[in-house]
């Protein structure tokens, strides 16, 4: 799969470097993560970053894509559960686990990355919002396939679940521990048709 390269070979693993960039963006947000922070965490120099990823915004988009693929695999796994209640229960608990992993920053990259539009016209915030709403739509579509009581809107239920998930992410970023998030989920599940 490695195509024959002509020039000097790259001295670092682009995916491993991306993993380190993910954590920097996760902790400091898009705007708060400076190129000095990023490249020093990635173990490379600035020109290497620009050659490999384009610019800071592209690096961020690649980081979010990789984050969605790896750190949010639990969400796709939860969709495989056989009932609506179990899908939601598994999604929320696995989400709470991910929000409080001891070896990772607290919270969720797609929220920590940036909610407010900073210097740009909210381009980053909008990109993250779109990506979150895509997850919400995927959940709604899965719920629509499953056994919901008549009159229950799958899209509204999915939005409720994502709302709890995002609120938990805000709490986790503030230092709230895993057990407390579980307690919140216990309440949240009481609103879900069994």
């Amino acid at each position: 799969m490695t195509l024959k390269t002509k020039g000097r070979p790259r001295g670092f693993d682009a995916d491993a470097a991306l993993d380190r960039a993910i954590e920097v963006f996760w902790e400091h947000g898009y705007e708060g993560a400076s190129l000095t922070d990023l490249t020093s965490a990635m173990g490379i120099n600035r020109p290497s970053m620009y050659a490999a990823y384009g610019n800071k915004e592209e690096l961020f988009r690649r980081a979010v894509a990789r984050y969605a693929e790896h750190d949010m695999a639990y969400a796709r796994a939860a969709l495989a559960e056989p009932t609506a209640y179990k899908v939601i229960e598994k999604f929320l608990t696995a989400n709470a686990d991910a929000l409080t992993r001891p070896d990772r920053p607290a919270g969720c990259l797609s929220i920590q990355g940036g909610l407010a539009g900073g210097s740009d016209d909210g381009e980053i915030a909008q990109f993250l919002a779109t990506s979150r709403l895509a997850g919400e739509r995927a959940l709604a579509e899965r719920l629509a396939e499953l056994d919901l009581p008549a009159g229950t809107d799958p899209a509204a239920l999915a939005r409720y679940v994502m709302t709890v998930s995002e609120g938990n992410a805000v709490h986790a970023a503030a230092g709230v521990d895993r057990a407390s998030l579980y307690a919140t989920i216990d309440f949240a599940l009481r609103a879900v048709p069994a």
Copy 2:
């Protein structure tokens, strides 16, 4: 109440200027709001801002304090309701209204202001988190006074309600409309003891 001043009188209303600063922080976040953005919205020059408020961080803290006093008065009003269910119902609906006021930025300053620790070591994010948790504690204390079923932890219930509120704030900032937030609240209230 105006004490006799000696020198040249101030040429602007400090509270009105603060209201304009609130909106800039609300839209762009603490880091994303530059002094040029702020002072031009406030209609004053930089030295006037520094003379009146100290520095950018102090301006932000004053803005958040004024925001809590004015734009979040609905929260204190909701606490006056006579039952736990009504307190929570009124808090969440008034919150959804505030998150989607057409004459104000979408979402909530205490979340839009900044979740991730930027250049500083998360001092702003921590300040905002502390202020949000103070609101949560106030709600918990009020719920503890009211009629909850035996075995219901007021602190956990308050945390659940704030989680929904914060999730709605994230959704509102992403452009979700008021009716959708209401639908989320309809689900959320099903978990609240009546």
